[in-house]
């Protein structure tokens, strides 16, 4: 298996690429042009690169958080909802709090992290007191989060956009003032780097160090691998798991705040502001096998697919097909990583 591994990987990626190309060709497009567009749109020039990096930032935050929870044995799959809750709280803070200038973006970030962390922690509480499965409750709470955001942006006394005269307000909040947003990282011609990326990288490195080098990380890993042995060794397992889950939620929430600030979006709270970043971030962590440093390249790959896919759609390839291509490529990149490990039991 070990020797055939690379070949199998290559074969699978090739198959996915071929299949995608075939699909595009069948719909009358040019696979070569599509591939060019995919690369062009994600890495082609400074603008493309900045798109990619802008996508990478929230993905990275979600994935880094997921590493914490997964390592502690709390399988969080509600990141999508946590991103939304973070965005909701961030938007509320950004629009409603009167905090002096430079502090405001930090307040937005903190509010998002706090709210989403608490939201995720609820699942830990349900697990602690009623034995409710964490994967299941975090998943269910995602749907609640979606409805909560929908409610907030369609309710005038909450966050619904103010009406311009008689026109209808869309289901979204007002734009956040520039003072509430994470700013740009310097001014490079063509290269738009949001501070969000810096936050994401720093957080990911911190998580990597925390998990790999600190007592906290060691205890968390132990609690995840064998709760009984960990308890014996003096680790308050449920508390450690709860904190890891809350951290995971908080980082997903920060991803929500980063999306709110990101030049990719509209700087408003919208029901679909999470653009599947939560789900994709979970995939990133799973593919990186919960190793924070590995999430960096994997998140990069996902970001490339997103930015390239968005550009590809603009070349006339039907956007749904772009989603299909993305899904196929994701499968291709997931499968070999696992194939390489062990012989398979039927």
């Amino acid at each position: 298996m070990t020797r055939t591994g690379p070949w199998v990987s290559a074969a699978i990626v090739a198959a996915a690429v071929l299949l995608s190309g075939l699909l595009i060709a069948v719909t009358g497009g040019s696979p070569a042009a599509a591939l060019r567009a995919l690369v062009q749109g994600s890495l082609g020039d400074a603008t493309a690169v900045s798109q990619t990096l802008l996508y990478a930032a929230p993905l990275l935050l979600v994935a880094a958080g997921t590493c914490c929870s997964a390592r502690s044995g709390a399988f969080n799959i509600g990141q999508e909802g946590q991103v939304l809750v973070g965005a909701l709280a961030g938007a509320a803070a950004g629009l409603r709090l009167a905090v002096p200038g430079p502090v405001l973006p930090l307040v937005v970030l903190a509010a998002a992290a706090l709210a989403a962390g608490t939201w995720a922690w609820l699942s830990a509480l349900m697990h602690r007191f009623r034995g409710v499965d964490i994967a299941v409750s975090t998943l269910l709470m995602t749907f609640l989060a979606q409805q909560a955001v929908a409610f907030a942006v369609t309710t005038p006394w909450l966050l619904q956009e103010s009406r311009l005269g008689a026109a209808a307000a869309l289901p979204q909040s007002n734009k956040l003032p520039p003072g509430a947003l994470l700013g740009s990282l310097g001014d490079h011609p063509g290269l738009q780097l949001n501070l969000g990326l810096g936050v994401a990288l720093v957080v990911t490195l911190l998580v990597a160090v925390a998990l790999g080098r600190t007592r906290w990380g060691f205890r968390l890993t132990m609690a995840g691998l064998n709760p009984a042995a960990a308890r014996h060794a003096g680790i308050p397992v449920t508390a450690v798991g709860g904190i890891a889950l809350a951290v995971s939620g908080a980082l997903a929430g920060m991803a929500g705040a980063v999306l709110l600030s990101s030049p990719l979006g509209t700087n408003r709270l919208q029901p679909d502001i999470s653009i599947n970043i939560g789900w994709d971030g979970l995939l990133v962590a799973l593919i990186a096998r919960n190793r924070p440093l590995l999430t960096i390249p994997v998140a990069g790959l996902f970001a490339v697919l997103r930015a390239g896919g968005s550009f590809l759609a603009a070349t006339g390839v039907p956007p749904y097909l772009v989603d299909v291509v993305k899904a196929l490529l994701t499968l291709a990149f997931v499968a070999p990583a696992v194939l390489r490990r062990q012989p398979v039991v039927a």
Binding site: D133, L139, L144, V338, Q342, V345, A346
Partner: protein
């Protein structure tokens, strides 16, 4: 008075139509979960089948052929999911989520390629019984596939609780290592369970398309797969309660959609969240009585 009876009949028949797709799929998801797969791709199974059923109905001119095609397509998704997660050991959540995205993209694209048209299976109307007050119309005037539930629910129950296959499924879901020692091909059983799940979820999706609605539109299952997962949780991994969960969700939706017509208004976000809230509440209240498979969601690989 007859007004009330008529209102009840309306809500009830609407409830049955909204429940049926969930119930079919829930039988499948229940079985897959008893075998140890927390199957997220049930949404993909339903959606793919909904599309396939209308497309094949259009090609063959037979809505029944469409229904069958839906079942096969659902099973195909199950086959792919099984191969990836229980043969090649790709994380089952990853597979599920990616399959959902894949099928959503593919069907959304294919629906733009050609005109699919309207196709619907025949309606059954049982003489005499249909004239019963309140229950008559809801129970005895329906598209015929609904009545398949009468066979498939007991069959699913029998398969899980009484058949050798089901015994081995349960062993695979509870303690795969022990099952393996005993000579049960754990991953094979799990793949087979996913096939059954796919077929039934496919039937649910196909029923939605060629049974109830008569046409396909983009993302027409709109998250029903996740609702089905919630139903299994709500049911505490018991078939009877899972189906009761589906009925609660279906009736709640029926009520929500009927209430404005009856002169009431309710917050729509709250009602859309209701099934998920209910599932959470059920878990909070009945956790001790649930029968969660011991190895749910855990991959099996032989180690010494």
């Amino acid at each position: 008075m007859s007004g009330l009876a008529a209102d009840l009949a309306t809500i009830l028949s609407s409830g049955i139509r909204l429940t049926a797709p969930l119930a079919f799929a829930a039988c499948g998801e229940y079985l897959a979960e008893r075998a140890g797969t927390l199957n997220v791709s049930v949404e993909a199974m339903m959606l793919g089948a909904a599309f396939g059923s209308i497309a094949v109905a259009g090609l063959t001119g037979s809505a029944t052929a469409g229904l069958l095609a839906g079942v096969l397509l659902g099973a195909l998704v199950g086959l792919v999911h099984g191969a990836l997660s229980h043969r090649w050991h790709v994380n089952t959540f990853v597979v599920g989520l990616v399959l959902n995205a894949l099928v959503l993209g593919l069907t959304s694209y294919l629906v733009t390629v050609g005109e699919l048209g309207r196709h619907q299976v025949a309606q059954v109307s049982v003489p005499v019984l249909r004239d019963l007050p309140v229950l008559g119309a809801p129970l005895f005037v329906e598209r015929w596939p609904v009545y398949l539930l009468l066979a498939l629910v007991p069959l699913t129950w029998w398969l899980v609780e009484r058949s050798r296959w089901g015994l081995e499924l349960r062993a695979a879901g509870e303690n795969p290592e022990a099952a393996d020692m005993t000579g049960i091909r754990v991953n094979l059983r799990r793949r087979q369970a996913l096939l059954w799940c796919g077929a039934l979820a496919g039937l649910g999706g196909a029923y939605l398309a060629v049974g109830e609605v008569g046409s396909f539109n983009q993302n027409m299952t709109a998250g029903r797969g996740y609702l089905v997962m919630a139903a299994v949780i709500f049911g505490g991994w018991r078939l009877g309660r899972t189906l009761a969960g589906c009925a609660v969700f279906g009736l709640a939706d029926a009520l929500r959609l009927a209430l404005p017509a009856l002169g009431y208004t309710v917050n729509s976000q709250l009602l859309v969240s209701a099934p998920y809230l209910l599932a959470l509440l059920a878990m909070l209240l009945f956790t001790t009585r649930e029968r969660r498979p011991g190895a749910l969601g855990q991959p099996f690989r032989r180690t010494s």
